[in-house]
Symmetry: C2
Subunit: 96 residues, 2 copies
């Protein structure tokens, strides 16, 4: 059984299709729920990843919810800044 | 009474705080619901705008919902491409 962190895809600076493939692979491995997470500028890419994965490869998968948050990150030893983050939950169909 | 398009703030390439001010102004003008919309790379900024407006200026306002969509846009006379978009709905408190 997959642990809860296994089914999260963190979006970084790689090409969008790398992350789309990661999402599709998670569903093909039997996960019924995949979280797509991103911070800062990668948020736009996370939305692309979720929509492309769903439209092109996973027509039965639906967006189960979207949350946005503010996270505090350390930019230096004594400096902290706020960054926005997003979590998009993709939900697959019930098992037959 | 404001028409439905009046309470939408479209996010473009201006500084984030310009759009935050626009959102805050909409609420101060009596709107109880403001939509923050963006496409493509501006999606990240839209999330920033919604969260900064809420956290810093509008503590009673809540995120009522977030939707992401794929839109088809014309890049040329005979070429069309897909672009992701987001709509974040901010909801103010009920009138006293």
């Amino acid at each position: 059984m997959a642990s809860s962190s296994d089914n999260t895809v963190f979006i970084g600076k790689k090409p969008t299709m790398n992350y789309v493939l990661a999402v599709v692979t998670q569903f093909n491995n039997g996960n019924r729920r995949v979280n797509v997470k991103a911070r800062g500028r990668a948020i736009s890419r996370a939305v692309d990843v979720a929509l492309i994965a769903q439209r092109r490869f996973l027509p039965q998968v639906e967006i189960g919810g979207i949350e946005v948050m503010t996270e505090e990150v350390a930019v230096d030893d004594d400096e902290r800044t706020n960054v926005s983050s997003i979590e998009i939950v993709l939900i697959g169909p019930d098992e037959p």
